[in-house]
Amino acid sequence: MEDAVLFNLRDEKQSAWENVLNYFRKRSMWMLYYCTGCGAIELPPSMTSRYDMERFGMGPMATPRQADLLLITGYLSVKTLKRVIYSYEQMQDPKYVVGFGSCPINGGIYWDAYPVINHLELFLPVDMSIAGCMPRPQAVLDAFQKLMDEIQAGKAVGYKRYRRHYDWYKRNQDAVLARTQAVLEPWEDPFSDPALVESLWKDAPAEIRERQEERHDA
């Protein structure tokens, strides 16, 4: 993917009332940090007395339904992506996604790994990305302040984008999660043949065979 930015950061139409709302939204952000990868280690210093993000009006939240900010801290495997999408869809509007570290941007050091997705943007609308492996707490706080500015300016509208382009996001998610055929070449497991497995059982040591019969009886 040549250009990481898929969407124009064009302002959505904002009413005057929404400008007022945005002012309050940016000052009370509760974040859900999804500790999928190594990035979670940078959050305790950001939250506690050394850097203290509470002075910006931010705090950690334990559940997605009460959170405004979803932090994807590090690499995302396909299995985790499914859970992240569940969490994101449980959150209430307005909600913001922050990709934390290089892995959600372009795969990072896992760009050629088989279980890890490369671009989080294909599956969820990312409002802010923090480059680095890993970003220091200063970078994290800087990104949060920039995110606050964008919320005030009406530019952080990922949740509206997700709603508008839901079919596009869903198609991408399904292409990875609900795969129906092999990516490179189909694999036929030779041991899916019951006759072969049965023939191997003949040589099994008595202990394993007996236990297997017990298991069948049970």
């Binding site: 993917m1 299995k79 499914k82 088989y114 490179l184 694999w187 040591p205």
Partner: protein, 173 residues
Amino acid sequence: MTPERFSRMLTEFFGDAAVFADKGGAQWEVHAPRDRCLPLLSFCRDHSFVHLAFISAVDWIAENQIELVYHLWSYEHRVHLLVKTRLEREKPWMFTAHRIWGHAQPYEQEIHEMMGVFFIGNPDLSPLFLHNWKDKPPLRKDFDSRAYSLKAYTLEGLGLVPPADKEDANVPS
């Protein structure tokens, strides 16, 4: 126990089937064919190697074999023992060791998922980590991880197009 003594005991019980080597640094190695491997593991367990630390698998693609390595540890003698056995690569199978050590079950489950080795008698060989995996086991040497990643997780590989951004769309908030 000295390596010489353990080597003698192995020869006594298994004859030529078990090949012993002292790798130095308190690490010993025993090679055995598949059909003698399980009795050998029981034997080691009964001779102070009570701790199974890990089971790993190595893909020797040039020799067309997959090697299983059982890492054992003796608290009594402070020795790390590697029990190795070679399987043919087309249809690699092995008897389960989870009757000797109960916790061998998830190790074997993982090797089945990542290397495609089938363990006879293992009660659960369902996938542990991979989601909806349809390709060959990914830790085989002939699996191209980069080609997979590019095809599976990028816009071009998925055959998708960036969405058209409708200028006139008025999104209700």
